[in-house]
């Protein structure tokens, strides 16, 4: 089942990893996470009427809301992914990436893309597509960057002989999908197709970005890290196959479910609904597979923080997917479309699932990159509990808010009534956001302490190696 895991040669594998670039990606990711939090906070303050900067152009919550989502997707998630791929792919394939110079070039180019996106949005040049707001003049650069990423990482995978491990199925497919998805979303609805069919493509893009870029890379990394940390193979190879091929077939067919009841032909909407429900069955097999893997030794979650981030993320994943199977039906859509229910869902997916996994990966890798154990175990726990608590309460809060907003609208209350009843929920959301930010600050402080200690070790010439 796990014959491709290079269990016999960890020391050789270590030499294949370029550690500085992994570290550089993580630092960039944390920077953009901070930027994104500022955007979220500004919008949260605006909603409860506590924004002290109302009416200032460069602090406009409308613009910062786009920076919030773009910095998370392209600044945080993409950067951690690229860093983690630089760790996982050489160790899995026993080959270096195609070129380290190319890696550094991509690193620089990608940061320019993200910064330019943020700058472009800040100065009002955003485009009108969720996650495709990237201004016109950056799109070709980002597209070229994605091609280089695909080449740089595919070379070691292609060089590899023998059967591919599950992780590499996901990675290989994700490189193709991400390139195609970005091209589809950033060029077709802007230049070629208008109207309802353009809307169908916009739906495909939003959904594929989550389903064909973030999801496969995320699950690929889970299939890589979880067996290593648990020191046991994945429970069922058959379920791994079902999970991958089920995702590959059904996920791309979901896009139109973002615009149900829109003037898009109804049979296409029904198709998207059915495909979405099918995805949830596939997801269940993947979840079963991972819980089968940890079955019998779940007490490890008490002390092993990275695994705890992963498995709590998986529980959240199951919740979002179960929720998705319901909310995609027209019965639910009537009530919850356009409400905060969807916002809660989006936060649970992007932060509660993928954010958790990526923080878990960073919690695991920073000591290995810096050559020193975390300075404070307590701060790691605070980071976890503030994030998990904040996220879960925010999710429940926004879901309830969404139901009440939906009822308020359909009973034809005056519009501002729906704003008034949302206030308590938005206040709770603001404080849960602050809890998440506080957890993040704990992580940063801990990282700073660990880093300084590692430097101290280096000066004294006694590095303390952490087992790889």
């Amino acid at each position: 089942m796990t014959e491709a895991l290079p269990a016999a040669a960890p020391n050789e594998a270590r030499l294949l990893v370029n550690r500085p670039i992994v570290l550089a990606y993580f630092v960039a990711a944390l920077t953009f996470f901070a930027v994104s939090m500022i955007g979220g906070l500004l919008m949260a303050l605006q909603l409860v009427g506590w924004n002290p900067h109302d009416g200032i152009e460069l602090l406009s919550p409308g613009r910062w809301r786009m920076i919030h989502t773009n910095a998370i997707a392209y600044g945080f998630i993409a950067n951690v992914f690229l860093g983690a791929l630089h760790w996982a792919i050489p160790r899995l394939t026993m080959h270096r990436v195609a070129s380290v110079q190319l890696s550094w070039f991509i690193y620089g180019a990608w940061q320019i893309v993200v910064l330019a996106t943020a700058g472009g949005i800040l100065f009002g040049q955003a485009q009108g597509l969720e996650w495709g707001e990237t201004p016109v003049w950056i799109d070709p650069l980002a597209q070229a960057g994605l091609l280089l990423v695909a080449i740089n990482f595919s070379v070691p995978i292609i060089k590899m002989k023998g059967p591919l491990y599950v992780t590499l199925w996901y990675f290989l497919a994700a490189f193709v999908w991400t390139f195609l998805t970005y091209a589809m979303g950033n060029f077709v609805p802007e230049y070629l197709v208008s109207g309802a069919s353009g809307g169908a493509i916009a739906g495909l893009f939003i959904h594929d970005l989550v389903g064909l870029f973030v999801t496969p890379l995320g699950w690929g990394l889970m299939y890589y890290f979880v067996p290593i940390m648990l020191k046991r193979p994945i429970w069922s190879h058959g379920l791994s196959l079902v999970g991958f091929w089920g995702l590959a077939f059904f996920y791309p067919l979901n896009g139109i479910h973002h615009f149900l009841y829109a003037p898009i032909p109804m049979f296409l909407q029904y198709g998207a609904i059915i495909a979405t429900i099918a995805v949830e069955f596939v997801v269940t097999t993947v979840i079963i597979n991972f819980f089968g893997t940890i079955w019998g030794s779940s007490s490890i979650l008490k002390r092993h923080l990275p695994l705890r981030w992963f498995y709590v993320g998986m529980v959240f994943y199951f919740i979002t997917c179960a929720q998705c199977a319901l909310q995609v039906t027209q019965t639910f859509q009537k009530l919850i479309h356009f409400t905060d229910w969807v916002v809660g869902h989006a936060h649970l997916v992007m932060f509660g699932v993928f954010g958790f996994w990526l923080f878990g990966i960073m919690t695991y890798l920073f000591p290995r990159l810096l050559g020193r154990e975390w300075a404070s175990r307590k701060l790691l726990e605070w980071h976890f509990w503030l994030s998990a608590g904040g996220m879960f309460v925010m999710f429940i809060d926004l879901t309830l808010a969404g139901i009440l907003q939906g009822w308020s609208w359909s009973m034809l209350s005056p519009w501002l009534e729906s704003i008034r009843i949302s206030q308590p929920f938005w206040i709770v959301r603001l404080f849960m956001g602050l809890a998440i930010i506080a957890g993040f600050v704990c992580f940063l402080v801990n990282l700073k302490m660990t880093w300084s200690a590692a430097r101290g070790d280096a000066r004294q010439g006694e590095p303390k190696p952490v087992p790889a």
């Binding site: 909603l47 924004n51 109302d54 009416g55 152009e57 406009s60 919550p61 409308g62 786009m66 009002g124 955003a126 009108g128 995978i157 591919l164 199925w169 290989l172 497919a173 609805p189 802007e190 197709v193 208008s194 109207g195 309802a196 069919s197 353009g198 809307g199 169908a200 916009a202 064909l212 991958f244 590959a248 077939f249 791309p252 067919l253 896009g255 139109i256 973002h258 009841y261 829109a262 898009i264 032909p265 296409l268 198709g271 009537k334 009530l335 356009f338 409400t339 905060d340 969807v342 916002v343 939906g406 359909s410 009973m411 034809l412 209350s413 005056p414 519009w415 501002l416 009534e417 704003i419």
Partner: protein
């Protein structure tokens, strides 16, 4: 095949992606091929939609100095240009993250806003990309045109609370100039965004009198707080 590089690259990577693109994107494009995309010039043509030019002249009368400075004459060409600029501002400011542009056939939306959205309404250059929207913090805007005067919109952009007490919309003060004396007047951005909002739904030939402007009449005094 299911674990080989070529199977993953060609079948999962390319094949399934293309299958979805054909079935979910190419099919609707083909279905709408008889509804050609209208250009902005066609949209403002008074023989097609007399309301847009009327709104433009209305802006000219209300704000003659700003209008002369930022737009010039009230011609169809200027109207098309201003409308397009208005769309760019609507997009760039992220208006579409809090306001939708489609009325659904459910949840009493047609009672609140007017007729349910139809595909033809979106077959134009200004809906590229389409502005369906994703969230309604504020109300749907696809039937907003002509419902209120342009001066209402100008005041609302300056300070939403002035016209809608309890609103949490941010103030867009940079849409207006502040003269040394007298009230602020819309600048190039202000004129453009107001014209754009007045265009939304102006193509529909009916007097819009939705319930939500007249809640008292529908639900009794208690509902109209």
């Amino acid at each position: 095949m299911f674990e080989s590089k070529s199977g993953i690259l060609l079948l999962a990577g390319l094949g399934f992606f293309l299958l979805a693109f054909v079935s979910n994107a190419v099919v609707p494009i083909l279905m709408f091929r008889d509804l050609p995309e209208q250009s902005v010039e066609e949209l403002v043509d008074p023989t097609v939609n007399k309301n847009v030019m009327a709104e433009l002249r209305d802006l000219q009368q209300r704000y003659p100095e700003s209008f002369a400075q930022y737009v010039g004459e009230a011609t169809e060409e200027n109207c098309a240009e201003l409308l397009e600029r208005g769309r760019d501002i609507y997009v760039g400011e992220g208006c579409w993250h809090c306001h939708s542009q489609f009325v659904r056939p459910v949840s009493n939306e047609s009672k609140r806003w007017g007729p349910v959205a139809e595909p033809i309404e979106y077959q134009n250059e200004l809906q590229r990309p389409v502005m369906f929207g994703t969230r309604r913090v504020g109300p749907d805007l696809s039937r907003e045109g002509g419902r209120r005067g342009s001066d209402w919109h100008v005041a609302h952009f300056w300070d939403p609370q002035l016209t809608s007490p309890g609103s949490i919309m941010p103030a867009y003060k940079w849409f207006l100039d502040e003269p040394e004396s007298g009230p602020p007047t819309p600048n190039a951005k202000g004129l453009a965004i107001v014209l754009y909002v007045q265009w939304l739904g102006s193509w529909l030939e009916f007097p819009i009198s939705p319930y939500y402007e007249n809640v008292e009449g529908v639900l009794g005094k208690a509902a109209a707080r």
